[in-house]
Symmetry: D2
Subunit: 367 residues, 4 copies
Amino acid sequence: MKNIIGNNLTLTLFGESHGKAIGGVLDGFPAGVTIDEALIEAMMSKRRAAGTISTGRQEADIPEFLSGIKNGVSEGTPIAFIIANKSQRSNDYNALTGIARPGHADYTGHVHYLGFEDASGGGHFSGRLTAVMVAAGALCMCMLRERGISIGTHIASLHGILDRKWNEDDLDHEIALINERKFAVLDETKEESMIAEINAARMELDSVGGILETAIVHLPAGLGDPEFDSLESQLAHAMFSIPAVKGIQFGKGFGFADLKGSEANDPFEMKDGKVTTVTNNNGGINGGITNGMPVLFSTVIKPTPSIAQKQKTVSFVEGKNVEVEIHGRHDPAIIHRARVVQDAMSAIVIADALITRYGQIDWREGE
Amino acid sequence: MKNIIGNNLTLTLFGESHGKAIGGVLDGFPAGVTIDEALIEAMMSKRRAAGTISTGRQEADIPEFLSGIKNGVSEGTPIAFIIANKSQRSNDYNALTGIARPGHADYTGHVHYLGFEDASGGGHFSGRLTAVMVAAGALCMCMLRERGISIGTHIASLHGILDRKWNEDDLDHEIALINERKFAVLDETKEESMIAEINAARMELDSVGGILETAIVHLPAGLGDPEFDSLESQLAHAMFSIPAVKGIQFGKGFGFADLKGSEANDPFEMKDGKVTTVTNNNGGINGGITNGMPVLFSTVIKPTPSIAQKQKTVSFVEGKNVEVEIHGRHDPAIIHRARVVQDAMSAIVIADALITRYGQIDWREGE
Amino acid sequence: MKNIIGNNLTLTLFGESHGKAIGGVLDGFPAGVTIDEALIEAMMSKRRAAGTISTGRQEADIPEFLSGIKNGVSEGTPIAFIIANKSQRSNDYNALTGIARPGHADYTGHVHYLGFEDASGGGHFSGRLTAVMVAAGALCMCMLRERGISIGTHIASLHGILDRKWNEDDLDHEIALINERKFAVLDETKEESMIAEINAARMELDSVGGILETAIVHLPAGLGDPEFDSLESQLAHAMFSIPAVKGIQFGKGFGFADLKGSEANDPFEMKDGKVTTVTNNNGGINGGITNGMPVLFSTVIKPTPSIAQKQKTVSFVEGKNVEVEIHGRHDPAIIHRARVVQDAMSAIVIADALITRYGQIDWREGE
Amino acid sequence: MKNIIGNNLTLTLFGESHGKAIGGVLDGFPAGVTIDEALIEAMMSKRRAAGTISTGRQEADIPEFLSGIKNGVSEGTPIAFIIANKSQRSNDYNALTGIARPGHADYTGHVHYLGFEDASGGGHFSGRLTAVMVAAGALCMCMLRERGISIGTHIASLHGILDRKWNEDDLDHEIALINERKFAVLDETKEESMIAEINAARMELDSVGGILETAIVHLPAGLGDPEFDSLESQLAHAMFSIPAVKGIQFGKGFGFADLKGSEANDPFEMKDGKVTTVTNNNGGINGGITNGMPVLFSTVIKPTPSIAQKQKTVSFVEGKNVEVEIHGRHDPAIIHRARVVQDAMSAIVIADALITRYGQIDWREGE
């Protein structure tokens, strides 16, 4: 449904990068959840530009809550929030009207919206809209915390530079660790080389991408639905709404192509009276439904399409080939910011799945 | 919504592998589409077991249409169909009651359905349910054909054996070619080695998986919706409802992690008065919306979890560790059958997107 | 969504009156509900033709369950069922092709389905499709019974002949009473005069309608949702899918137009430690949400449009005025059969609301 | 879906009467519609308090558009708007915490939201939320105008005082007339007596209700969907989201109970080469689908539950019987304001139905 996602907990998203405000409405959020503004601010700040490796645009991006929260507790009614667009330098983009920036949605947006779209700064397709996802996801994270579920994402690879793998025996600690870090690598020695890579790309007027790995722990078994609302379907649906995501895989993912069944299957075993699996190749999901093990998935983030190099393209208004140089703000990488967007969209999907299974009241305790 | 997929064109799916029948209801299918039974049979037969490399279960799997079609033309009302389960040898599975086959949904289904599920042969999670997807997708393929859209899928890799790549300059021909073939490789010399690999796995009481690549051509630009109903979101949602799919990627997919923006961006150019792209790294989709180039994506199919080797696992009913040997029918690979399921689910998503954009009447012509 | 209704519990309906079969799929129905075939048969039989006052078409209308039920208990997977069309005398209708029977959907169906509809016997618009609603509603009634909720409907008026009102102090008994009766009047002395009225209409080649009143008891307070998914919105949505329903009102309904606020408001009072209301003018719903009192509503059933008199109308195929005489089977009234359709659609809405609020597990106990 | 309505055009609504702001997001609104601010203001002003007969609360209620509109034309992206709550005198209501005002949603909201609701001034259930419906409906009215569809509503009855009926032979003129009037009666001589009735109710610390009749003209035939998304189902669903609506009827509505089929059926006839009906008892809808005649329906608006008289009720917090006197602002009637809310919700439903049938592009011309 276009700008609405979710079954029983829905996020409706709106805004253009250079309009008055962007924002969202979270409907179906349960009553009685303590809203932790520090948690929201912590997540919002991870999405914002960080130091020299990101865009010049520095907006505080504080969501202003308009409804649904009273004295720091959710009321059960829709939570609406807006994030003002303070810095609206759309002039940077005006020169580009009618020109399709390669890798961007300028042309497809133009066709889709019949020429009536506001393309300044990407308009409705701008990465800025991910601030809405983060704000909504942060609210859901407040909810998940009350059930003991936590979520974390690290940069598994950046233009070929690899972080170490999750230590799957201690994901609680790993997630806590990564959520403390501004630059999401498990192996801190990789931060410097990744940042150097980003800065090198900047110097070349180019950009880089990479792979984000997410872990979700303490999910009850039985979550998700069969067939078309498998948890994999729901998570994938949500992740592909993050601009720049071009792939997703669960557990061993594309690595399954080279395994045999005997290597791929996760043997079950009883552990402390609980059903667990010895390995977790399937990323915590069998038949679309959680088995109680950590849910593990990764996505690929393509290199930012906004690069400062001169590029060949077309003017779709004039119907002719042109060259384009994109001025204005550029991120040579967004993967280090996208990590929290992935956390946020994950939180929204999991919160929705909890309510779908356990209802509006019993989601904290239901098994 | 559990067993329903789609916005304006919806498939409702039902059935258990060892019940009376499986089937589906396709609602919102437009009036006036010629239903080509030969096309339906051709797709159904691709999904069926083929020769020595597949399961002993050989059912004709002819969908019986109950409504919505008159004299070979769709009426616009819901098209319901059933596929009888003729061969219900559930005894093979009875011995396993309460035992979690590794890699299967026995345990998660048990938790999800509170112990009331019919687990015989996988029950509602059985791969047999994909026959419903194929029948529904074949109907959608009849519709897409009237607009000149075609879809094809090949086995890009099978346990490390690679097919050649699509020749992207001649996809019309490539798709026609692959749709003629029972074993979906572009390079026919690979058929033998892949089948040998499958048979080797069978001899080892093991199984193999691989990667399926799909191409969709002659889509209009502008299809799909921004943000949460991006065409990537919709296709991914649909593909993860195919059992064994554990990953999906569009265009260069996970390969983007190693590219720079200048390599990843697809320059636009005018060609015969039409906007096209020089390369198609993004798989025909920018910002979630088609740009008129072929839509290209691939999925990974994990090795079939049903293997005949003795495996460690648990009895979740008795709460103890056990060993299991799975008797009955086994496919050492299902990827060669899954290719048409992927075609079918793609057809359903594209048909829905056409109706969403162009309405119930104008979907053949709308631009 | 066309032929699908519900949020978390959905009914997908299909079929044409003269096709092979009609049927439905109930998805989201919880696991572990005992399916009482006698209850289903009792409801189906109320919908069937009764004695001399109804159509000549006498079909057993036994739903054949294809999935989702094992050993008389729901599995949690979709419950699909079909009802065969044994008596397909579509010749009766063939003469009418292209002619708009007044009060029927022949013309609107023709426009809507672009001329591809099967109009025989009303096709997809036929009252016969209500058999699917009753079968699905009977399943939901099995579920509601496990929570102690009951539902009953009586003929409050038939062409001006009034039944007595519900005794609201003893609705448990009243509902039990009406559900025992084949002809749904509380005051048994009215049965004869109503049947006489129906037979008089038949003799005049005419038809009659009336008003159906429904009561639902033992609902928990708090059911339904604010604003757009008020329980009134959901019930009204469902009731208008019953052919011939042209109005619905809750509690005093249109009578509110002549009341003052002081007369209309229902004072609350504590009774046995529970919040109740002294009167129930609002029909058990405040702000779209149940208050724990019985939900009371009524609908108007227009006189059956199929009458045997010669009528003026048009041939929309030939674009000219014509006269039509409708041969074949006619019901001079359907209100005495529609009562159980109203029970059934009510049961579907309430079951869905329970699952939405209490989830897939806790709906029997949740408060 | 709680606070979201619509299939392809959706309104998401949010806000509490005494929070920062109320508002909405209209998603799926087509690109290229001229937004007429004068029309929006005209509709908003009809909803506002008028003269001595309405509440003391006088807010300008200007919707501030945050997205989706550029230079007065819709962009196709979500249109979000907020309406600030300037006058937040919630003290008036504080004394009532935990007390169930008869006829209000205080108690049901308390149960539904588990005690976390903000009940001040009705909170999320407040009639103030209808300002959001009117703003969204006014946008849809801009869209409908481009197709020549118009909508009007008059007060058919107010506490027994009747307006004259629509002149169905000249509905274009009648609708234009009623939309010019601040007090929506066709027979202007009734305005004075109705206002006198409202003022009399005020003097008695009481309130009155009535019946609203709506006409929608120039709809194409074929609009709406069969079975569960009949246009009647959709309109009824929408109308019951207006607080105080307790009934709806189409065409002759409850009057059908006293008619015979021969009186109720609308004979078709050709007129100027077009299929029309001689009478319009069915209110322009057959089988849930428009037949091209005006859609006619009426609703009942119960008397405002907020009355200044002392009333018996309960404190649901203390679990005891109490008496309540409601101070603060009271409307002795809201029907004269609700008329434009009914127009607005009608416009939303019709706009959605147009897009569902004709798609995102062709809705202006599709037939």
